[in-house]
Amino acid sequence: MITVRARNVWVIWLSMALALLLSVATLPKFMEIGRPLWLALFLTYWVLALPHRVGMATAWSIGLLADVLNGSLLGQNALILTLITFLVLSLHQRLRMFPMWQQSMVLMVVFGLAQLVQLWLNALTGSRPPTLAFVLPALVSALLWPWICMILRGVHQRLGVN
């Protein structure tokens, strides 16, 4: 791979910190069940835009931070974010060609899979949601994707992150 000189990489880290913050921010009770997967959304954008800069190792370490914040088993979110990054990385050439709504559809499937793994891991530690509600965050995230993508693209191009 051609080594590209890093420029304004702090933007990536700042946006990920923002995503971490959003993922624990207080929400009204009825919205809690459909909390968007902020970390996964932000990570997906950077993986699609700068696959040479943001990879599975980044995803893993951010996931570890999320685990500490959420008090889940150390490594749980790390595994899930790594999985999402892997899927997006292996699809990224195709995904970039898709129109926005099609990207959303693909991402819904990817996030749904991730939520399924999350459910299994939660079941291992004993807490299990009784309904299908666990896929709701994937749906909400897919609906949010076009906006997140546009905002982050704006920031990305304005600041010339590379």
């Binding site: 599975m56 914040l69 088993l73 490594g75 790594t82």
Partner: protein
């Protein structure tokens, strides 16, 4: 390839975290970042609450003040009654020669965050190892037990609430002492009693208090009130539902209870010694001819009892 390595690494981490205690110190140190992040995450709510408080009108404040005064009066009345009851309790316990009730130490704490996963009922409080918080420590609010500490970090700790699906607490019906186990259902307004016989004497409105049998929660704190008892002839046990007395999803301020670390035997011995010392002192005072006005203290009871015996 890299996925495989990272996946295996996370799997190993998860297993080690779940089964062993090696990672606990690391976790607790990493927990330092938790408080600022949750503080920032809560900032909009805090600001909003602050603003509404600043802007609330004078009449509202006056009304609230009025309400609080009324509540205060009610509490005072109950407290007076409580004093009498405590005296009575102490005297009865003396008759039974059992150890005196020890009042528990408490530490006030504030809620700083709620677990983002809606399927677990856990909250974050602003006291940690630096304040002496221990793993498994009970937490209560003004109305009853809320849960127990499951993770301690330097300045914060995580509390598992009674209604989490993984939580159970041994309880007793306050009316007749019937023992049961109250299990969380994942619904913040409901607990379920497990394995209660269909013929058991339990009915709607019964108060459930902690029984202290699990050695984790102190005995005698209110836990829930029974809201529904369903007798289904097709089921081996009655279905008993209860509503937690604590405001599990509304309380902002909580109390951490420090239970006595001494064993029951030690406690009994020490209180017996203290009682003996008090008796001796009372006797000496009685011999010296000091006549105390009838205070309802145990020593006063002793004093008033002693002359009667001598008369007989």
């Amino acid at each position: 390839m890299r996925l495989l390595v990272l996946a295996v690494l996370s799997a190993v981490l998860m297993v080690v975290d779940a089964r062993f205690t090696v990672l606990k110190p690391l976790r607790s140190q990493l927990g330092l970042i938790v408080e600022p992040v949750y503080w920032l995450g809560r900032l909009p709510v805090t600001l909003w609450e602050g603003a509404t408080q600043e802007l609330s009108s004078r009449t509202e404040l006056a009304a609230e003040n009025e309400k609080l005064k009324a509540e205060h009066l009610m509490m005072q009345r109950r407290l007076q009654k409580l004093a009498a009851l405590t005296e009575q309790n102490v005297r009865l316990r003396e008759l039974l020669n059992s150890a005196a009730l020890v009042d528990d130490d408490v530490l006030a704490t504030e809620l700083i965050g709620i677990d983002p996963n809606p399927f677990t009922h856990r909250i974050l409080i602003d006291k940690g190892t630096k304040d002496g918080v221990l793993l498994g420590q009970p937490v209560l609010d003004a109305r009853g037990l809320m849960g127990q500490v499951v993770e301690v970090m330097p300045y914060t700790s995580r509390v598992l609430l009674l209604t989490d699906t993984t939580h159970s607490i041994p309880v007793q019906v306050n009316r007749n002492g019937l023992r049961a186990i109250a299990t969380g259902t994942g619904n913040p307004e409901r607990l379920e009693l497990r394995h209660v016989a269909d013929t058991a004497d339990i009915k709607e409105g019964d108060l459930l208090v902690s029984s202290g049998l699990g050695q984790r929660f102190p005995a005698g704190y209110p836990v829930a009130t029974v809201s529904e008892v369903v007798h289904d002839s097709g089921q081996p046990f009655a279905i008993v539902r209860a509503v937690p007395t604590a405001n599990l999803n509304r309380s902002r301020y909580m109390l951490l209870v420090f239970t006595d670390p001494r064993s029951p035997e030690q406690r009994a011995t020490e209180s017996a010694e203290a009682q003996e010392a008090a008796d001796r002192q009372a006797r000496e005072q009685g011999q010296a001819g000091v006549d105390e006005p009838t205070d309802a203290t145990p020593s006063a009871v002793e004093d008033s009892a002693a002359p009667r015996e001598s008369e007989q």
